[in-house]
């Protein structure tokens, strides 16, 4: 779907400049610190800010903007999962799902039984929302959104109420759905590792603006805007090669090197984005062989920068091909190893650092 959101919205102290004009395919990660306007962008697309002076176009159709009444939210064929479950309190879980299934509008319509089965909603169907736990409510809300016909799904931190186990189960299902039915997803998450590994594009909300960014650029500034949310780290793009069932590791190609990541990532898209925290990367000036760390990547130091917050810690940018990693190293190690720009190093990455949303 060709999606354009362009204009400026102001609400008291809050202002957001939207500069999005992108072909959304698969999962698009919408990242940024809290309060930067991620939810506002979703509300603009969904039709809940229809009177804002922001233009919204989808596949050439004007949803809102100058010259013409806005298309109301219920006719936009956009399904939204909100941060809160927003279940209808007067209906059972089944009633909530039926509410969505009855919608008449264009878009992909998933079979009731499939959604119920996958999200394991069967035992919950006859319960009232107040009888459900937070995670169960969110699962019902997710199912409800999937059952309403849609051409685009907007997920505003849909997993925040879920435990890690269900999260790991549901995330691959969502990405598979999105590819199978060709319904793109815009996915907001405060967890950069969670969302990046399932995303193909990244939109960044920062400094009063939201726009698509090159994922690799997320780590370009040492404490880039995306990192401000979590911690210093680089975002790298890899390609899935194969899954080694014996060890339970996925092999990813990264600029000619191989990275081993726990779990089966075959369900992810052709391009896998990984967030690698700088504190999980160590540097060696000689190639290391007899070490338990699987992920060893050769590269060259491009730049270094002292961190402001932690005394003695230095962020080192290690380039490889078109991309780079960030490592957090003590000043003492910098001096002892003679690390500075131009030095060839081997970056050692702890596998546990390669956490993904899958």
């Amino acid at each position: 779907m060709q999606l354009a959101v362009q204009g400026r919205i102001e609400r008291g102290d809050f202002a957001l400049q939207a500069d999005v004009d992108a072909d959304v395919v698969g999962v698009t990660a919408l990242v940024g610190a809290s309060g930067t306007g991620k939810s506002t962008l979703l509300r603009l697309i969904a039709g809940f800010e229809a009177n804002a002076p922001v233009g919204v176009q989808a596949d050439g159709e004007q949803w809102q903007g100058e010259g013409g009444a806005p298309v109301p939210a219920h006719r936009r064929a956009v399904g939204t999962v909100f941060q809160e479950s927003r279940l209808f309190p007067h209906l059972t879980a089944r009633g909530n799902l039926d509410f969505a299934a009855r919608a008449k509008r264009d878009g992909v319509r998933l079979p009731f039984s499939e959604v119920v089965e996958f999200l394991d909603l069967g035992p919950l169907l006859d319960l009232q929302p107040h009888q459900l736990s937070g995670g169960q409510r969110q699962r019902v809300a997710l199912g409800r959104t999937l059952l309403a016909p849609a051409k685009l799904w907007l997920f505003d931190e849909p997993m925040s109420a879920l435990d890690p186990a269900s999260r790991r189960e549901i995330a691959p299902y969502l990405t598979a759905l999105c590819r199978r039915h060709d319904v793109p997803i815009v996915y907001v998450s405060h967890s950069l590792p969670e969302v990046l590994s399932i995303a193909e594009q990244v939109w960044l909300a920062a400094d009063g603006r939201v726009a698509p960014v090159d994922p690799g650029a997320l780590g370009m500034s040492f404490l880039g805007p995306a990192a401000a949310d979590t911690e210093a780290g680089a975002v790298i793009a890899c390609r899935f090669e194969r899954y080694d069932a014996k060890y339970g590791l996925s092999e990813l190609a990264f600029e000619g090197a191989t990275l081993y990541v726990p779990g089966d990532l075959s369900a992810a898209g052709p391009r896998i984005l990984l967030h690698i925290p700088a504190r999980d990367v160590s540097l060696s000036t000689v190639p290391v062989h007899h070490v338990s760390i699987l992920n060893r990547v050769d590269g060259m130091i491009e730049a270094t920068e002292a961190t402001a917050d932690q005394r003695g810690a230095v962020l080192v940018r290690v380039g490889r091909g078109e991309q780079h990693l960030l490592a957090r190293v003590t000043q003492r190690s910098m001096d002892e190893l003679g690390l500075h720009a131009g030095v060839k190093v081997q970056a050692l990455i702890k596998s546990v650092a390669l956490r993904t949303g899958l």
Binding site: A46, G47, F48, P72, A73, H74, R75, A77, V78, G79, T80, F82, E84, R86, F88, P89, H90, F99, A100, A103, K104, R105, R144, T145, A148, P149
Partner: protein, 221 residues
């Protein structure tokens, strides 16, 4: 006709009037209250003021103007009597119209308050699930506010049962047609029949007390 039969007839007219009025109000008030609760129109304040007028005006003032409008030469009477053949002044039909106007704020007001307190996030969710404006109203707003709807209906009913001034002005005192209990009570007192007056007054008092107690208990549930 015996005294008891006379009172029974007035009670019947009163009950029927309250029932028909309440039914009309439960059709008219929810959309009106929803509009008042949600609109940003500049007409909201004037419309709310008009709806609230019966709260502050003496019923006789309202009755006086309705009487003029209902007269065969008046704007409403001319249309109703002239075109439809239905006279309004001193008829049950006219009484229903007057009662509906008079009790409107007692049904619309509480509903508008309930609607204003509604969780608008649920409305957004319903819209995102493809529910149209009317679909959201019928499938979400009304069921979510069924308690307020019932309470408003009961208040409208009880208030119609208790009206006097407006009936006196536009209905007169026609047995079986426009003589309601409050008028019958007035008659009894005029005739110094305090026994009959006690019967009617006591019944109305007990009825109102019971209905209001039940309503307030229900609202707190």
């Amino acid at each position: 006709m015996g005294i008891a039969a006379d009172i029974a007839e007035a009670a019947w007219v009163t009950g029927l009037l309250a029932l028909v009025t309440t039914a009309i109000l439960l059709l008219v008030s929810p959309p009106l209250a929803w509009w008042m609760a949600r609109t940003a129109s500049k007409w909201r304040a004037p419309v709310e003021a008009v709806v609230a007028l019966p709260l502050v005006l003496p019923p006789t003032v309202l009755g006086f103007y309705l009487l003029l409008a209902f007269a065969p030469s008046g704007p409403l009477g001319a249309v109703s009597h002239g075109l439809l053949g239905v006279p309004l002044a001193f008829t049950f039909t006219g009484l229903v119209i007057g009662s509906a106007i008079y009790s409107l704020p007692f049904v619309t007001g509480p509903l508008a308050s309930a609607f204003r307190a509604m969780d608008w996030q649920l409305l957004e969710a319903a819209a995102s699930l493809g529910a149209s404006r009317s679909g959201r109203f019928l499938r979400l707003v009304l069921p979510l506010n069924r308690r307020a709807l019932i309470a408003a209906g009961v208040l409208g009913f009880a208030h119609t049962v208790g009206e006097f001034g407006i009936v006196l002005m536009i209905g007169g005192n026609i047995p079986g047609e426009t003589r309601v209990l409050s008028i019958a009570l007035f008659d009894r007192v005029e005739m110094l029949d305090y026994g009959g007056a006690h019967l009617i007054a006591g019944s109305l008092l007990a009825f109102s007390l019971i209905v209001l107690t039940a309503t307030y208990r229900w609202l707190r549930l």
